[in-house]
Symmetry: C2
Subunit: 406 residues, 2 copies
């Protein structure tokens, strides 16, 4: 099983390193691959170029030599200024409760997901079943089964789960890959084994989706990558109600990597501070329009909305694909109603059984196939946060699809 793991199976990287695949047919209309398989977040870069001065971090050589940050905290390797910045950001947005909860830091929410599996299964006898409703994030199965743990194992689609055994359900909302708003599903069917929940709320921020409630679940995962776009920093955090679970998660992070880069921690604190500062003294009442371009979430939602509108238009014209639709919903943060604009487009081919192969052969566009998400290969996941060049080229090729013949 481990042997069959992809060489570079992350949330960003296709199997041929972005280079043309081996069957390079020179008769194809396009010579270069457009890679939309990756989960990179480059769309958000333009905001940070605008704010380059405000967001500079400077580190001298003598700083951050110690592993430790705050020995009195459960998560003792976390810098207090980062903890405070995370709490301030959630308080501003109103998307998650942080009072009377532990915050555990990780090298991205990827590491924290594994820390959560460890913590939630540590007192079980056999391997705990890990499930998520399909389509689920393609990383979960591979991460769960990475070293064939005896504590937990991947058990597939939560909708099919009926074992009378302990389980952990991952609830991803908005969902990766399809942007849907979700709750747990195992509870509602036939299973009565002991169940625990991990809420992966990576995309529950107001550039992607309306903030409809202050999330208050037992164990919630967030990531700097999808919040501000800084995927290269590898910063994630968990908000945890039960202090014993938080301690076990900390143990995992310590034994797995002895904590988290302090350079990244310092920078994340600074960047989150810039986001919060952009809202200081701003009111959502139209009275300060010229300041709106400084507002982090509004600025980026605008960019993302524009891409979604362009994509919907091209898809409509081609009449060969379908995209999910999202209702307008009232957002408690912005006090207005808008649609969800997911970070990924979950594109379905009306005619082709294998949408990924079709796009790659026909358009030299690489997208992640639906079967990687426990779903149908007539779907692909398209990264909406890719570079402007790649996105425009994708739209261009998609627009011309009817004119292309082999």
């Amino acid at each position: 099983m481990v042997e069959n793991l992809p060489a570079v199976p992350d949330d960003l990287h296709n199997s041929n390193n972005g280079l043309p695949s081996s069957n390079s047919d020179t008769s194809l209309p396009y010579s270069s691959i457009v890679n939309l398989d990756r989960g990179d977040t480059v769309l958000l870069e333009s905001y940070w170029r605008k704010m380059r001065k405000e967001s500079i971090v400077e580190i001298e050589g003598w700083e951050f030599l110690s592993y430790a940050s705050d020995l009195k905290s459960v998560c003792w390797f976390m810098m207090p200024e980062l903890r405070d910045a995370i709490k301030k950001l959630h308080a501003l947005v109103g998307n998650a409760e942080t009072d009377d909860r532990q915050i555990v830091l990780g090298n991205g929410s990827t590491q924290l997901f594994q820390a959560a599996l460890f913590a939630l299964s540590a007192s079980s006898d056999g391997p705990v079943n890990v499930v998520a409703a399909a389509p689920y994030y393609s990383g979960y199965p591979d991460e769960t089964d990475l070293v064939r743990s005896s504590l937990y194992k991947w058990s597939g689609d939560a909708k099919d789960y009926e074992k009378q055994e302990a389980y952990i359900e991952i609830v991803t909302s908005p969902n990766n890959p399809d942007g849907s708003i979700r709750g747990p599903v195992v509870m509602s069917n036939k299973c009565d084994g002991e169940g625990k929940l991990i809420h992966d709320l990576a995309y529950y921020w107001p550039h992607y989706t309306p903030i409809t409630y202050q999330a208050n679940h037992d164990l919630m995962l967030f990531t700097f990558s999808k919040c501000t776009g800084h995927s290269g920093s590898r910063i994630g955090w968990a908000i945890v109600k039960d202090i014993d679970i938080a301690k076990k998660m900390t143990t995992f992070i310590v034994l797995n990597s002895i904590g988290v880069s302090k350079e990244s921690q310092a920078r994340a604190a600074k960047i989150m501070g810039v986001v919060c500062n952009s809202y200081q003294s701003f009111k959502f009442d139209g009275s300060n329009n010229n300041k709106e371009s400084q507002l982090f979430f509004e600025f980026n939602r605008h960019l993302l909305k524009e891409r979604w509108e362009k994509l919907r238009e091209v898809v409509k014209q081609s009449d060969r694909f379908l995209l999910p639709r999202f209702q307008k919903t009232y957002c408690n943060f912005t006090n207005e109603s808008f649609e969800t604009y997911p970070a990924f487009a979950w594109l379905m081919s009306k005619d082709e059984e294998d949408c990924g192969s079709y796009l790659e052969k026909k358009l030299r566009v690489v997208a992640r196939s639906g079967n990687r998400f426990g779903s149908d290969p007539k779907y692909v996941r398209i990264n909406m946060l890719t570079t402007g060049d790649d996105f425009d080229e994708f739209l261009e090729r998609l627009s011309n699809i009817k004119d292309i013949t082999f």
Copy 2:
């Protein structure tokens, strides 16, 4: 088993967060705990304070948004400038061969150790036995058995290993905790199972030990923490001969944390560059004495040597303890002979069966007990790279040990 893992079982942190333990007897002569259990590297800070201007790193908000760095490399999340800096540093010091080898980056060598276990055991049927000669680094057993992998399991002291099964031996040289220079031991006894080696060379740098050969093993681990002292950055690297092993290690790092902080990578490249620059145009012939205080390894070996001499003097006076002795050996890097000055002192009590309890009760000094290293509790490991205040206080208390009565 997992339940019994220490809450904070890292290389730095004692079980009571540096606070007095629960049996706080106010009749004890010292009110504060001196914690020498940790593996922190603060001694090296003074060099970086001297070089503060040369070693500044400045990062703007728009930088490092992408997960990827170099998609053409096996370790595609590693920045080319860091790979080049690592190769340049090894070339300068002459401690490890890097030509025609892969470099894999990790969140400290802790994560890379686990990546190596994964890569070396991925094609095996049952759990591969992981062994190291006692006394071995206390992190190896806990890290190996963290999630009870079916791929590998901790199997104790390499000197006792006689199973006819596949095994992985970790060779740590200079050794943590005792500073000894080591080679593999399983080969030489009765086992004929298939064996693979991990060489942990964290301390094979010329501030700790003479460089006697250019290491050329199949899989070697190094860490920024012990090289330059930047433990908070969580940067480690593996030098790997077999490209398939390097690919599997990369897969592990990707699935475990989708790469390594770019802020830390940028800083590590800068810091290593400062170390290399300090040697530019310097000759070890006494012709440029006033520049010698700029030389990274010489500056820090001098500090460490001073601490070792002070400790040996106090130990000699007390006549209650023993320290290991090290022969002077010729160093190919400095062209002179000197002793090993390990980052830890492996202190043995002549009279007490439990040296750790004795030191804690008598002196309120916390050190890591020998039994954590698969050895005898009459030993403890003392961190020689701790703060100056802690080290001086430790010496002071040790000097007065004969005057203290209960």
